[in-house]
């Protein structure tokens, strides 16, 4: 329980209406997109300015109160969870686009701005913000910065870090710093790049300078239908190997197609082994030829059909099916758990085979909807949350998938982050010295570890507890519900 004086001080800073401390008010804030983990903050505040965030953080520093920032709450690794209780700083009121400078292709935005709003604000002038996570209608830029979010079009254009040029940051002791800026290659250490993807453990971002991209004059979207995932995977490697870099290459397997069709009716075949969604963008000239080469490659890998979207409507429908795929799982399963391992793309066929084996061995269904071009897998493990036995099997199968990814030279997360979900798995890909170097950085920014504690790094002296299903745990006086 917080001292009433702290609540009062916070009310002073942000106004009484912007402080939630009653249990029923805080229900929404007990988890993010990774709903299986829950922890309730002692207090949730809604600051409306950089100044208010800084004051609240200074207070937390003084009172030794842990704190965590939260944006749209769509994170999939528990990054915005108040695992040690304390203060949650909801940034949803810092939601203004402060500046748009098209001549310089820059925008300055507050962290609570929803990803898609930026593109909507500049679309009519022919510009867009490139990173496009599937949750882009709800996730915020602050969250994107924390997680270094990706999306389907990162194959060609990179992830959040490649599009963020500068930040205003509240350090964990309340000092405000500015990193980077509208120009490029500032002297000194690249703190902007270090902060992006640090999962909110180094400070709280209150302003972001992003790069705006010019829309290309032509876009072509193709759907290639294969009898097997092996064929589809090999086609992906071949497209890249032959010197073509599409804007996106997405893959869906039969189970995913079935769910998506039931939900969106995007025109995907439901009886195919796997489908590739390939998007080309760039200049009009030469695009037909490139598309023809892709069709050839697909045919060489026994594609039974290659369809080209005839107009924007068809294109958007195909993408809608892809972007709503996670949500579509509700049509075929009561719950799902999504993995985010990433592998060298040439290892796709064997890893997908492993995933099929794992599904069979644990007796669960696994759908695959993922960024094939990047080798970023998203196996969706389908189960019924109410059945403890199924939950346990899903967790074990998921851990095994991660081990396979690590074993083929891959990594634990392509875009969802480590959070609390995978912190104990970090030793699969990093040695003690690797983690020690990262922790030195954390100690410089966040020496008292009050800023988003319990994330990213394995708990010292504790191995992952997957043991018998636990419904409730108490850590530091806070309920952590795990399955």
């Amino acid at each position: 329980m917080l001292k009433p004086a702290i609540i009062e001080a916070l009310q002073q800073i942000v106004g009484a209406a912007n402080v939630l401390s009653e249990p029923e008010e805080k229900l929404v804030y007990e988890c993010d997109g990774l709903t299986m983990f829950k922890a309730t903050p002692d207090v949730v505040i809604f600051p409306a300015s950089t100044q208010q965030v800084a004051e609240a953080v200074r207070l937390a520093d003084r009172e030794q109160l842990p704190f965590v920032a939260r944006g749209g709450g769509t994170g999939l690794s528990g990054g915005a969870l108040a695992v040690e209780g304390g203060m949650m700083i909801a940034l949803t009121k810092l939601n203004r686009i402060l500046e748009i400078d098209l001549d310089n292709q820059r925008a300055v935005v507050q962290p609570g701005v929803v990803n898609l709003w930026i593109t909507q604000a500049v679309s009519a002038q022919g510009y867009y913000y490139a990173p496009d996570p599937s949750s882009q209608q709800a996730c915020t830029i602050g969250g994107n910065v924390a997680e270094n979010s990706g999306g389907p079009h990162t194959l060609k254009y990179g992830v959040t870090t490649n599009h963020v040029l500068g930040l205003e940051v509240i350090l964990p002791d309340g000092r405000v710093i500015e990193t980077g800026g509208p120009a490029e290659d500032y002297p000194g250490y690249d703190l902007t790049g270090t902060l992006v993807g640090s999962e909110g453990t180094l400070g709280i971002v209150t302003q972001v300078i992003v790069r705006l991209m010019r829309k290309t004059e032509a876009v072509k979207t193709l759907m290639a239908v294969f009898e097997s995932m092996d064929d589809a995977s090999n086609a992906v490697s071949d497209v890249i190997g032959q010197g073509i870099v599409p804007a996106a290459i997405e893959m869906m397997d039969q189970l995913a197609l079935e769910a998506v069709e039931a939900y969106i009716h995007a025109g995907y075949p439901t009886d195919a082994g796997g489908v590739l969604l390939i998007e080309l963008d760039g200049l009009r000239d030469g695009m037909e030829e490139t598309a023809a080469r892709i069709v050839d490659i697909a045919r060489q890998h026994r594609a039974r059909e290659v369809r080209v979207a005839r107009d924007d409507r068809e294109r958007e429908l195909l993408w809608l099916g892809r972007k709503r795929a996670f949500g579509a799982m509700g049509r075929i399963s009561p719950s799902y758990y999504v993995q985010d391992g990433v592998i060298p793309r040439t290892r796709l066929p064997e890893v997908l085979r492993h995933i099929r084996d794992i599904a069979a061995r644990y007796g669960i269904r696994i759908a695959n909807v993922f960024h094939a071009g990047d080798g970023n897998l998203h196996p969706l493990l389908l189960f019924d949350e109410r059945d403890p036995d199924q939950r346990e099997r899903v967790l074990q199968a998921s851990a095994e998938i991660l081990r396979v990814c690590a074993a083929v030279g891959g990594s634990l997360s392509g875009e969802h982050g480590i959070g609390i979900e995978k912190r104990e798995d970090m030793p699969l890909v990093f040695t003690e010295p690797d983690l020690a170097a990262m922790q030195k950085v954390r100690a410089v920014f966040n020496p008292r570890n009050l800023c988003n504690p319990g994330k990213v790094f394995p708990t010292p002296g504790r191995c992952v507890e997957l043991g018998p299903p636990v419904t409730e745990k108490v850590v530091g006086g806070v309920r952590i519900e795990r399955f």
Binding site: D101, D103, N104, Q105, R106, G150, T161, N162, I177, P182, A183, E184, D185, Y186, P187, G188, Y189, D190, L191, G193, T194, V196, G197, S198, R214, I240, G241, G243, V245, G282, L283, D285, G286, T290, V342, R345, T346, H371, D374, G375, N376, G409, G410, S411, L412, G414, H416, I418, V429, T431, P433, D434, A437, M438, V441, R442, A443, V444, F445, V456
Partner: protein, 451 residues
């Protein structure tokens, strides 16, 4: 006091007698006004680690040395004992074309890497100055780039994994071998451009691109800076996808034309645009750029294949070889693209004021301007240059731009802050240096705020 002969013996035991140079003139490894007393050439990562552990124990100042092309960068070294040469760590370790990735040792030159990748029709899309000598490790440590960053980005966009050796000899890696990865902190960003002051880069995994089937240059000449800049801006807001847009002033134009083919006859400001891609796309872009240039008032133009020579020649003008005699002071200004014209005018006016010719090259799309100011015959900088640069720096800072001196003779560096102030970030940066290199053995004094 360090017992040099004992240290040399220990170094010899680590890397072999033939891989330690000492007790001889090491002027070729001079950094500004200091020369090391030993040059060590390790043959693997473990040897690098052992050398650093020794340097750490004895508190010896170490300069990691790749091709030596950027040694003029930064403040005067505070101390210099050992040069750690990467001459033997120059191999491609892995190249998987279908993954578009390669893992290399830090000492491989960019030219050797591109030749290797080129045999499989791929490249690492970075075109730094002096690429025949510049190494991958050096490019990363100095965040070097070239004209094609406009389309392809810089090291921070094209590096996916890194192995470093820390000041105390610990070996750690960051990132991995996959092109998309958010597992743990992005430590690579911290090491890129840190001038080897936090850790020593020993291996890197790079993100590659296919070599474009066709590459061309379109070079137009304008009578005024305004006309050239306006054309560049129109080009960027049109639908084209140039890989480079460089705007260069009349003295550099004249020099380039003596060196290479180019537009005939006229004097003026050059706009040189690079294009690449499928043949059809290149033909279309060339046509559109010609039309834009002519509409913008170009007085002559030239088109030719881009074989890399022109960009290398242009960049060499602004990246004096660190080991050669210093002939000019080179500065870099960073600002937003719409301010580039004003900066070019300011620097031109400055040159008149200090009675020195100046050579200017703007990487227009990225808002970067390189300026070269020749030194007098006695090696001294023009009088008042430092003062004039300080004024421009102050002006830029108010608009969140910056000015750094990339190379200058020691006499100039002794009274000019090469990097300028890093503002509110200073304490964090100093904290990082303390955490990673508490004994200050890695390039001490050379980076921002003399870290």
């Amino acid at each position: 006091m360090v017992d040099a002969s004992k240290v040399i013996e220990e170094l010899q035991a680590i890397v072999g007698v033939e891989c330690v140079q000492a007790m001889t003139s090491l002027d070729a490894y001079r950094v500004d006004d200091r020369a090391p007393w030993a040059v060590v050439v390790p043959g693997d990562i473990e040897q690098v680690a052992a050398v650093l552990a020794l340097a750490h124990r004895e508190e010896l100042a170490v300069v990691p040395w790749g091709g030596g092309t950027t040694m003029a960068m930064g403040h005067l070294p505070e101390r210099l004992d050992l040069v750690l040469s990467f001459a033997r760590l120059d191999r491609v370790l892995e190249h998987e074309p279908a993954d578009l990735t390669a893992t290399v040792q830090a000492g491989i030159t960019v030219a050797a890497l591109q030749a290797h990748l080129g045999s499989r029709r791929q490249w690492w899309p970075i075109d730094p100055p002096l690429s025949a000598a510049a190494t991958v490790g050096g490019v990363l440590a100095t965040n070097a780039s070239g004209p094609k960053r406009l389309l392809y980005g810089t090291a921070r966009d094209l590096l996916i994994g890194l192995t470093v050796v820390h000041a105390d000899g610990a070996i750690s890696k960051a990132g991995g071998k996959v092109t998309k990865n958010v597992t743990g902190y992005d430590m690579m960003k911290l090491y890129i451009g840190s001038l080897g002051t936090l850790a020593v880069i020993v291996e890197a995994t790079l993100k590659l691109r296919p070599l474009p089937p066709s590459q061309e240059l379109v070079w137009s000449i304008f009578t005024s800076r305004e006309a050239a800049a306006a054309t560049a801006q129109r080009l960027l807001s049109g639908g084209l996808l140039p890989n480079a847009i460089e705007l260069i002033n009349p003295p550099v134009t004249a020099w380039l034309r003596q060196t290479l083919d180019g537009p005939e006859g006229s004097e003026g400001w050059s706009l040189i645009v690079g294009i690449d891609g499928a043949e059809a796309a290149v033909v279309r872009q060339r046509r559109d750029i010609d039309a834009l240039s002519q509409a913008g008032g170009a007085i002559s133009w030239w088109t030719g294949p881009d074989d890399g020579r022109l960009w290398q020649a242009l960049q060499s003008r602004f990246r004096p070889d660190g080991t050669a005699r210093m002939e000019r002071i080179v500065i870099r200004v960073g600002t937003v693209r719409t301010q580039v014209g004003a900066i070019l005018d300011q620097l031109t006016a400055l040159a008149t004021r200090v009675h020195a010719p100046c050579e200017l090259c703007a990487r227009f799309g990225n808002g970067l301007v390189y300026g070269g100011f020749p030194l007098h015959g006695d090696g001294q900088a023009p009088a008042d240059l430092a003062q004039a640069l300080m004024e421009i720096r102050g002006d830029l800072a108010s608009k969140r731009g910056y000015l750094v001196v990339e190379s200058a003779p020691p006499s100039f560096k002794a009274r000019f802050d090469c990097w300028g102030d890093v503002g509110s970030q200073a304490e964090v940066m100093a904290g990082l240096k303390r955490a990673f290199d508490p004994r200050r053995i890695l390039n001490p004094g050379r980076f921002v705020h003399h870290l």
